[in-house]
Amino acid sequence: MILAEGMHSSVQDLGRKGYRSFGVPISGAMDKYSAILANKLLNNDEKLPVLEMTMIGPKILFEDHSLIVLTGADMSPEINGAPIKMNHVYEVKTSDVLSFGSLVSGVRAYLGVKGGFLTENKLKSYSYYEGITSQERIHKGDRLRIATYDINLEMTSSKIKVKTAHFEARKLEVTKGPEFNRLTKKHRELLFSKRFKIGGMNNRMGYQLKNKFPSIKDTEIITSTTIPGTVQLTPSGTLIILMRDCPTTGGYPRILQLTDIAINQLAQKKENDVFKFDLESSFDFLSRLVSRFKD
């Protein structure tokens, strides 16, 4: 049961696929790397839903036994007031309370439970999204069902090394977007030499950047497909990086495309954090990276 709701926490899995042509966003964990890690540490299927918590964590009362793990952002987690480690599996018992303190690193933490959350499944996904699931975030007093755990059966402790670089990335890997060729040479130089700063408008739908960018000739396109990681350039020269809950279509030029790894890294950054775009031009190089990430 949720005793205090924190800032913004929602149940997420790896997303809602197959409904884009009905206008339904993909959704899913903002930082898939950390969400998958939580499940792997618990020997869960990587697709099982976890609880994504943003900057200020909730306070949760367990009403049953289970195993839990926290990955992603370090928000100083405690069980019954005693600090616990990140990326470490703990047993929780009925009436244990999980709470959080100050944010030490990253932005989004993931709570994995043995067997996953058993919240509502809509359009083949557990991911919260307003209008698809009955709520878009958790509230005080909510009770989230979790899988039954047989405490005598298994005490998992997978050893997986966590990549610290994941939280410290200063370069986000991108490929060219469909409208990249509308950029002038000067635009391209700026795009790959400048340090970009994250603005205050950043959420599950997208991240706006603070730097103004010179606008280009054709600042609108006929509405076309967008996906998480698409970098749009608006007529006013603002760069918007679309994230997991982004609309399926948009009308601004798509100048760059973040790789999935880069989206995960960006999901752990907050206002005023800086980074550079790192262009990988070879597509096959990228698909190799993607398959390596899957393994």
Binding site: K17, G18, Y19, R20, S21, F22, G23, V24, P25, K122, L123, G131, I132, T175, P178, I221, I222, T223, S224, T225, I227, G229, T230, P247, T248, T249, R254, Q257, L258, T259, D260, F283, D284, L286, S287, V290, S291, K294
Partner: protein, 243 residues
Amino acid sequence: MNLYKLTYKPLGSIAVLIQWPKKIEKDILKNIILFRHKIQVDMGEYVLETVPTYNSLTVFFDTARIKYSGVVADLKEIYASKDQKLLIANKVWKIPVCYDDEFALDLTVMAKAKKLKKEKIIALHSEPLYDVYFIGFLPGFLYLGGLAEQLEYPRRDKPRMKVRKGDVALAGNQTGIYPKESPGGWNIIGNSPLSFFNVDIFPPCFAVAGDKVKFIPVDKVRYTAIKKEVEAGVYEIESEIYG
């Protein structure tokens, strides 16, 4: 159907973006629908989903099974292949809309600016058969083509923070229906009692790209009656097969 010079571009590492000439027109819509259908029939094995827009089709593929270059090669071959006989049954959906002042928040202002009577705007808006080009922006938001030129009107300077579910609106040369409450900058001229997205049935939207939509003006009494039927889950949307 090999009519257009298409371009193929990667969209991230997961999809191929196929682009038609930069125009909004019915022939392109038909061509996209036909190509999409062929892809679903011939490449279903590794194509996960396809998303049409006005002048593009995005093909999401299973990266574990095929590479980008392989998908593009197959797409080109299918596009160039002779037409199989395809029967795509498209429908005309009759969408009740109440244009009463209570709903039509921007109709009076628009009528003044356009120097048209409100009745004339309603007649012009409910007369055409609109083409459903695709669904995007929000779950269940239909992108429609075919607005009368006389009704072209700029979007509001200040978008509303809240547009009601079912609001029928127009902006530029477009018209549409908000499937759920959301912020929005289009001019509201009515409201439809129908649900355009239902998460608990498949498919969640009754209309698909290639269908047509006709707005049927209804009075407040009829509107309220339909709304009750929709809420009770017993309203059947009127439709006809065309083509």
